[in-house]
């Protein structure tokens, strides 16, 4: 009997543990994902409850009105160029853009956070209920400018953020649309203007991923910086050959880099070297570094819904691993995530959580939310970040990214030209940042089906950096 009682006592802890687990998990998922569930387009209850509430205004960081309610109608910024430039970030109440501010922050905009007393006071005064005003971290001026620099007719995305705080200044997808004039043509456009490519479009990051491969090499090879690699232009892996950009085997034209170091390979974006590095690192090591930077993580950012990037875990043949080192294969990431990776390099290895909400203010002037920077994760060691920063600087001074250079400013970056099977041209990528204490901005640019990152995306980056240095430092 004594033993029995003792066993029963041990079971008490187990059984109570079940309830603790339920409560803890419930609290955890409600606090981390509750906002997403609420904002889901499947939430018919919240949509029905919007009736009878005047939706709050949406402002940019400088107070420019991006959306307001006039006579029960939702109206957007007066300037069409601004409307288009922030269309995806702001979204529309109908939810045609998924997870725009209009739907994702509905709990503020439609006053779902009002306390019982506030509701009562509205009812007593006979006033209609008004949702909270939401001020975003977006800068409508830089957004407008960035949109004007993007090649007309092309699809793609631009993300600009402050790498020290995580505040997102521009979050754009192309083609964009005018929320005040949604035509059938826009709705049926095969380029899907409502898709927010900055956060929802998962594509191969191409050579911009070499930042990750280089970080893995720096953190795992003691002699990473001095080791010599041989680029013959054709690296046989399994039954396939890995080549460098500019190679046309049919025409007998082969790009060769000869003997080179990691730094040089990064500058000229040598696929051959990075494929060798990936094979030397082995898949689990490279994967660990990628996962440190957010690959395969479930992004649960408070203000933004970003599709999860994936570092493939299945069918890992040598050929796949080699191509992963160069940013191809089944690897996928969003422009937003690549911008975060550049930001982490700029910010001594610390990746800040991207933020979109600066402040939420109730109708009665009460502040309901104020932004404060949050760290998302430590993506790499500070020394690694310092070395990578140098590498990325050299890409712009004397590598593939020279067209991003701005006179008198420390521009750092990495180009990418990602091959997509269904497209004629490569996707042009540029991710980079200003290494300037008073202008801590990082960006990611993708122009789909447009050509090389160095020639197509880098010049756009240069213009945006230039604008930021002139207007925002």
């Amino acid at each position: 009997m004594k033993k029995l009682r003792r066993n029963i006592r041990a079971l008490t802890f187990f059984l109570c543990g079940l309830f603790v687990l339920l409560a803890a998990y419930g609290a955890y998922s409600l606090s981390t994902s509750g906002g997403r569930w609420f904002a889901s387009s499947a939430n018919t209850y919240a949509r029905a409850r919007r009736q009878g509430v005047i939706a709050g205004d949406i402002l940019d960081k400088n107070g420019v009105v991006l959306a307001t309610t006039r006579d029960g109608e939702r109206v957007y910024a007066g300037d069409e160029a601004v409307r288009r430039a922030v269309a995806h970030a702001v979204g529309m109440p109908s939810g045609n853009v998924s997870n725009g501010v209009e739907t994702f922050m509905a709990s503020y905009l439609y006053g779902f956070n009002m306390s019982f007393l506030e509701r009562l006071s509205c009812a007593v005064k006979g006033e209609p209920r008004q949702g909270d005003a939401v001020q975003l971290t977006l800068d409508s001026a830089i957004s407008r400018y960035a949109a004007s620099r993007f090649p007309a007719g092309k699809a793609g995305a631009v993300v600009v953020m402050n790498y020290k705080t995580g505040e997102v200044l521009a979050l754009q997808s192309f083609p964009n649309f005018d929320p005040m004039n949604i035509t059938a043509q826009v709705r049926n456009d095969p380029q899907t203007p409502f898709l927010n490519r900055a956060t929802q479009s998962l594509k191969a990051p191409g050579s911009t991923f070499k930042i990750v491969t280089a970080a893995a090499a720096l953190e795992n090879f003691p002699d990473a910086e001095t080791r010599a690699y041989q680029c013959t232009g054709q690296l046989q892996v399994g039954d396939r050959v890995i080549t460098d950009a500019g190679t046309d085997l049919a025409a007998g034209q082969i790009t060769r880099h000869g003997q080179l170091t990691l730094r040089r390979a990064f500058q000229v974006s040598c696929n051959n070297t990075f494929a060798q590095i990936a094979l030397n690192l082995t898949d689990p090591t490279l994967r660990r570094t990628a996962e440190n930077m957010g690959f395969n993580d479930n992004f649960l950012f408070r203000d933004l819904v970003v599709e999860n990037s994936s570092y493939p875990t299945q069918n890992r043949t040598d050929r796949e691993i080699a191509w992963t080192g160069a940013g191809q294969s089944a690897l996928t990431a969003t422009p937003m995530h690549m911008c975060l990776i550049a930001s982490a390099v700029a910010n001594d290895g610390v990746m800040m959580e991207p933020a979109l909400l600066q402040r939420a203010t109730a109708q009665n002037g009460k502040t309901r939310y104020v932004f404060s920077p949050r760290v998302y994760r430590r993506a790499m060691k500070a020394e690694t970040a310092a070395t990578l920063k140098e590498y990325m600087r050299s890409v712009v001074t004397s590598g593939t990214g020279t067209q991003a250079a701005v006179a008198g400013a420390n521009v750092c970056g990495k180009t990418g030209s990602a091959e997509i099977d269904t497209q004629e041209n490569t996707n042009a990528w540029f991710v980079g940042f200003l290494d300037e204490a008073d202008a801590p901005y990082a960006l990611a640019i993708v122009v789909e089906d447009a050509g090389g990152g160095g020639s197509v995306a880098a010049p756009i980056a240069r213009d945006i950096f230039n604008w930021l240095l002139e207007n925002d430092r």
């Binding site: 009997m1 033993k3 029995l4 009682r5 003792r6 066993n7 029963i8 006592r9 041990a10 079971l11 008490t12 187990f14 059984l15 109570c16 079940l18 309830f19 687990l21 339920l22 409560a23 998990y25 419930g26 998922s29 409600l30 509750g34 569930w37 609420f38 889901s40 387009s41 499947a42 939430n43 018919t44 209850y45 919240a46 029905a48 779902f112 019982f116």
Partner: protein, 416 residues
Amino acid sequence: MKNRKKRRPGSAAALISAVMLFFFLAFLLLAIKEMSLQCFMMALVVPGIIFVGSAGIPKLFPADRLLLSLTNFLCALGVLVLYRLSPERGLAQAVNYGVGVVCMILCTLLVRYLSDWKLPAALMLLGSVLLLALPLLMRAEERNGARNWVYIGSYSFQPSEIVKLALLLCIAYLLSNRKVIVSIAFAGVCLLCLMLQKDLGTALLYYAVTLVMLYAATGSHLLIGAGLAGGAGAAVMGYQMFAHVKKRVAIWLNPWADVEGDGYQLVQGLIAMVNGGAWGVGLGLGNASVIPYYYNDFIFAVVVHEFGWIFGLIVLAMYAFIVIRGVMIARRARTAFHALLAVGCAALIALQTFVIIGGNIKLIPLTGVTLPFISYGGTSLVSSLCIIGLLQGVASRNEADVSEDRELAMQGGDLK
């Protein structure tokens, strides 16, 4: 001898009155809102059942009042929430509740007065296997991928809910007589029947309860380790064999992959809970009926939706209290049989609550077991109340033994 504190019946009476008043007012509110005479009747009947269930029973024999009040609160909550969303179901549930209270009393009396369980245990052993095999023999239609109902005319019931009680009693009896192998074999046969019926949620419960009781009886880590390994093996096999298990797991991993299709139920459940916020949308103001099977699988989500997550936590705490109370009863029991029976009852309630609420909040894959006391369903409510009845039986025996001791002590008798 421990000098146990004398319980103050005053505080228990206040608690019971508060519970009765709560449900009287809640139904009155609904009655006024709906202008329904039937609902007004419910405002009188439900507190009536609560009174019989929690204040009446202790007059018959010594009973654990706290356990009774909590149980009755949860049952009445089920009736209330169901009535509000679908009056027919609420009405049916009120009847089930009444029947359940009577069955609960019967179970208590059984445990209180029956001393020799040899023949009953043997009969139950046979009966359970037959009952569990019944749905398979009757070729009943599948319901939600499972074939676990028996239909007799227009009347239907779930044998697995009734066998639950037999399982607790038989395993407790067998283990108290050190018949470990026989008890494992019996549980194994039950599990096999349930697996064949594809009623995997209940199978999981039977398995876990058996394991808990085995641990209580033997304390053998080796045995439990082997049991866990076997369970894991069966889980993997089940996953490979049953398409609907694979689907459930996929939904659990990412319900948002198909918000309008497979993931709809779970997604709507999660959304309903978050819509409730801290204080709930208010009784009668929600739209939780958009969740498929809101009345049994997702009743917890409905409660959180209408009353808020703070109330949801309170409900959770009530279950935890019932379980803790059950374990305390087990520890005070004088015979191994009664101790094992009580710990089995407590474990069953804890595990069943965990499995279904865990499924609701996406902690584990959803399985179709009911939430004890609250979910809609006659067999389930009655069997949950019977489990409380068994617990009460053990509790009343403990009390009787204690007072016997006291008398002996007063007569100057020698205690152990």
